[in-house]
């Protein structure tokens, strides 16, 4: 089923394309995914880095604040103050520094000299005695003594009223006076207050800040992240003399959109746009492919059509160059398409002797005159040199712009048709000839019988008479009667012969006035047929003003046809050769000026000229002898009959050599009296 296979074919191709399109889409989507993923990773890393930087900066801030505090704290004991002064100084200091919970002045033995509590936290040391913290203070002060500088204790939890508590840390600063240790200044730091005081609130917005243990346990919270779903965190260690604190900064992971950043968004949009474009392209492709497919089908259909034709097709451009030929045409002329295409004028399949005619026709065509729609007959040359008749039907080739670009011709090979026609005609002629022969035989038989009877009788009487004469005694009176009988039989034979000649003479009565051109015109188609077959050009030359002739039209036509056929048979294919231009049969008619001295009768002279081999002497001598022939299948009656017909018309049939070769047959017919 061609329909289904066409359908199947129509599907196979697009499916492949769908696969490619799909792959492209997947790739694009993958690319987009990877891009988004990487961009997200990048964003997250950047966020993490930012967070790390922030927490480092916080830690640094705190460190420098602590260092500055040390400077400030050193001033408390400058110039060896007494307790009151110190307390005053300490209270003032505590008012400015909320991170400090308590200041103590202790002697070298850890004995409390003076103390001051932060005004912001009044009752920190009421739930537990201060002595609980003494080990930490002592450790810090020991370390401070060792390094001769401030030192911190580890942080500790200090419960306060209400079940709450504070994370505290001690800092011990040794006090020296003129190189001698005079005691210690102990400052108690509140970790939450440190964070509250020193952390930049802008950095902390929405973030959670806390001090943690090394294992990440949160000790003191400054702020927490609201919600607390997906967090990132960064830590920084706050290295203090004697102790190290971990500062942890938490931040909610920033919610990223589908596209983490502008670049991805741009790339994504572009990819989507690309996909849409691709889809459009695919659709267009499919449509184009279908169109191509249909075109290819149409082309194949046309090709098959051309190949199946037995009619030759050829296209020519305006200069007459061949632009297209189909296989049938190639077969016809025996040349391949490659040999034919592009050849100009004269075309390779034009017979040499007809070039003039064809060039003329081409000129007519180039002049833009319309050629007959029903076509015209022409003669082409095969590669092997044989001629064949063709029927050409031509139509102008108009391009899409409406201008003529050449001609398209359909060429029909008529040789088979001609051959059949010729065969039929020959068959018909043979049949007629046979019929005529049979009739002639019948007539001859009848005639011989009719003549035999009296001859037999005469012979019998004569023989009998001789018998009588040889034996004179026997009935001599028989002789006269025998003689009378002989006479009677002889007369009978004469009557038979007379009746025959009467029969022949009856035909002579038909005479009519006919224009010589009409005589030639009526035999012309038959002559042209045979001439075309043997590549002979027929020239008809009728003198202007030639008078009508008085003749038996049918008989004279027969004579002309016979002479023309003889002439053409004298020029078989190849002799004379086509190139010389002598393959011409001329039928000419002219009027003969009356010779005033002899008779006033006017004559019209007919001439049939061929350029064959000419007549041999022997042939000339026997030319008009009945039953003499030079042809294999001839009867030898043609010329003899011709002569009889012409003589019946009071004319004469003569022949002479033609120039430069060949033979001319000539006869005269009486002109009809002008009316």
């Amino acid at each position: 089923m061609p329909r289904t296979s066409a359908l199947k074919r129509a599907w196979r191709y697009p499916r492949r394309w769908w696969m490619v399109g799909f792959l492209l889409l997947v790739l694009l989507a993958g690319l987009l995914g990877v891009l988004v993923f990487l961009a997200r990773e990048y964003e997250w890393t950047r966020e993490q880095d930012g967070l790390s930087r922030d927490v480092e900066a916080l830690a640094n801030d705190m460190r420098s604040e602590l260092t500055r505090n040390n400077q400030t704290l050193l001033l408390l004991n400058s110039a060896d103050p007494d307790r009151t002064v110190w307390v005053q100084r300490a209270e003032r200091l505590l008012q400015g520094h909320r991170e400090l919970v308590r200041l103590e002045w202790r002697n070298t033995d850890m004995g409390l000299i003076a103390t001051s509590n932060s005004p912001f936290l009044s009752n920190v040391f009421q739930t537990l005695p201060r002595e609980q913290a003494l080990p930490d203070i002592r450790r810090a002060c020991d370390a401070a003594t060792r390094i001769s500088g401030p030192s911190f204790s580890s942080n500790y939890f200090w419960p306060v009223a209400g079940g709450r508590g504070l994370e505290l840390m001690e800092m011990c600063l040794p006090i020296a006076q003129s190189g001698m240790p005079k005691g210690f200044l102990v400052a108690t730091y509140s970790l939450p207050a440190m964070m509250a005081e020193w952390a930049d609130s802008t950095v902390l917005s929405g973030r959670g800040l806390a001090f943690t243990e090394g294992d990440g346990t949160r000790l003191s919270l400054h702020s927490t992240v609201p919600g607390g779903r997906d967090l990132i965190q960064a830590s920084a260690s706050l290295d203090l003399p004697g102790h190290t604190l971990q500062l942890q900064l938490q931040s909610p992971r920033r919610a990223l959109g589908l596209f983490p950043n502008v670049l991805t968004a741009v790339v994504g949009t572009l990819s989507l746009a690309l996909m849409v474009v691709l889809m459009f392209l695919a659709r267009d492709m499919r449509r184009r492919w279908r169109a191509e497919r249909e075109l290819a089908d149409a082309l194949a259909f046309r090709k098959a059509m051309e190949n199946s034709l037995i009619t030759g097709l050829r296209a020519r451009d305006m200069q007459g160059r061949l632009t297209y030929v189909n296989p049938a045409f190639c077969d016809m002329v025996g040349l391949s398409a490659a040999q034919l295409l592009g050849t100009g004028l004269p075309a390779p399949y034009w017979p040499a002797e007809l070039l003039d005619v064809y060039q003329q026709r081409q000129a007519v065509r180039l002049a833009g005159q319309a050629l007959p729609r029903e076509g015209f007959e022409s003669m082409f040359l095969r590669r092997d040199g044989t001629h064949f008749p063709v029927l050409i039907i031509e139509a102008p080739l108009i391009d899409a712009q409406g201008t003529q670009t050449g001609w398209m011709s359909a060429v029909l090979d008529l040789s088979e048709q001609r051959r059949v026609e010729e065969l039929n005609r020959a068959q018909q002629e043979r049949l007629q000839a046979t019929a005529r022969l049979a009739m002639m035989g019948e007539m001859a038989s009848l005639l011989s019988h009719e003549l035999n009877q009296p001859l037999a009788a005469i012979s019998s009487y004569a023989n009998g008479s001789l018998n009588v004469l040889a034996d004179p005694q026997r009935e001599p009176d028989l002789l006269p009667s025998a003689m009378r009988q002989i006479l009677a039989q002889a007369e009978r034979a004469a009557r038979v012969i007379k009746s025959v000649s009467d029969f022949v003479r009856r035909r002579e009565q038909v005479r009519e006035a006919v224009a010589p051109a009409d005589l030639l015109a009526s035999i012309q188609p038959l002559v042209a047929l045979q001439a075309g077959k043997s590549g002979i050009r027929v020239v008809i030359d009728v003198q202007v003003g030639v008078p009508h002739v008085l003749c038996d039209r049918t008989m004279v036509e027969q004579v002309l046809l016979n002479l023309a056929r003889n002439g053409m048979q004298a020029m078989p294919t190849g002799d004379p050769p086509a190139r010389g231009g002598w393959r011409v049969l001329t039928l000419s008619v002219k009027s003969v000026q009356p010779d005033p001295s002899t008779s006033a009768r006017r004559w019209v002279e007919f001439e049939v000229t061929d350029h064959g081999l000419g007549l041999s002497e022997e042939a000339q001598a026997q030319l008009f002898t009945p039953f003499f022939t030079t042809k294999a299948e001839g009867m030898g009656l043609g010329l003899s009959l011709c002569r009889t017909v012409i003589e019946q018309h009071a004319g004469e049939l003569t022949h002479a050599p033609a120039q430069p070769r060949g033979t001319v047959f000539r006869f005269r017919l009486p002109a009809a009296p002008t009316l």
Binding site: Q453, G464, V468, L478, A482
Partner: protein
């Protein structure tokens, strides 16, 4: 040909009066009797009218092509007669009829002559035909005579005669017929007497002529 019977007769059958008369006249100059018939039918009526077979030598000159019954058709009718051999037929033919005439000769016609004929040659041929006719007639008459004599023999005598003519001695004839030699001799004498022969050889010759 003086040996011919003076009353030997030539029957001429031709539609053309000129030819008929000329031939009759020619035959007359050669002292031969003739009778002319205008058509095949006329001659056939004549033949049908004869009481018995001809006892005089005769022959027929028959034109092949004639209006009405053709010469060939007449020849077919004549062939059917038991004594046809006694009346030989010579065909007269035109040029076109030669093959037909040749065919007729093959079927038993005596000869054919093509018109126009060389007359005396024709007459010679006619005389030969008449001579042939004479011979046939003589043979037929001889046979008739022998037959008449044979008809007089009895059954037994004929048996004896056949064996004697075959050359058997009396003894063997007697054995074959289961009769005595004496009886054979009696029969034998009677057969010789009736057939007018004198010896067994003569008997054999006589019988050979009939067969």
């Amino acid at each position: 040909m003086s040996s011919l019977h003076p009353h030997a007769k030539v029957f001429i059958v031709d539609d053309d009066a000129g030819v008929r008369d000329a031939l009759a006249w020619l035959l007359r100059t050669r002292r031969l009797l003739s009778e002319s018939y205008r058509s095949a039918d006329e001659f056939w009526d004549e033949v049908q009218g004869w009481r018995q077979e001809p006892d005089l030598p005769c022959c027929v000159l028959l034109d092949v092509r004639m209006p009405g019954t053709s010469g060939l058709a007449l020849f077919e009718q004549l062939l059917a007669l038991p004594w046809q051999a006694a009346m030989p037929v010579i065909f007269l033919s035109g040029h076109a009829d030669v093959p037909t005439a040749v065919d007729a000769v093959k079927r038993g016609a005596f000869d054919f002559c093509e018109k126009p004929f060389s007359d005396n040659a024709l007459v010679d041929r006619i005389e030969q035909a008449l001579a042939h006719s004479t011979q046939v007639l003589a043979l037929r008459q001889q046979r008739q005579r022998v037959q008449t004599k044979l008809d007089q023999l009895t059954e037994r005598e004929r048996d004896v005669m056949n064996r004697v003519a075959a050359g058997l001695p009396n003894k063997l004839v007697a054995d074959a017929l289961h009769i005595s030699v004496r009886t054979v001799e009696v029969h034998r004498a009677r057969v010789f007497d009736k057939l007018e022969v004198k010896s067994a050889v003569e008997l054999a010759n006589l019988l050979r002529g009939v067969a």
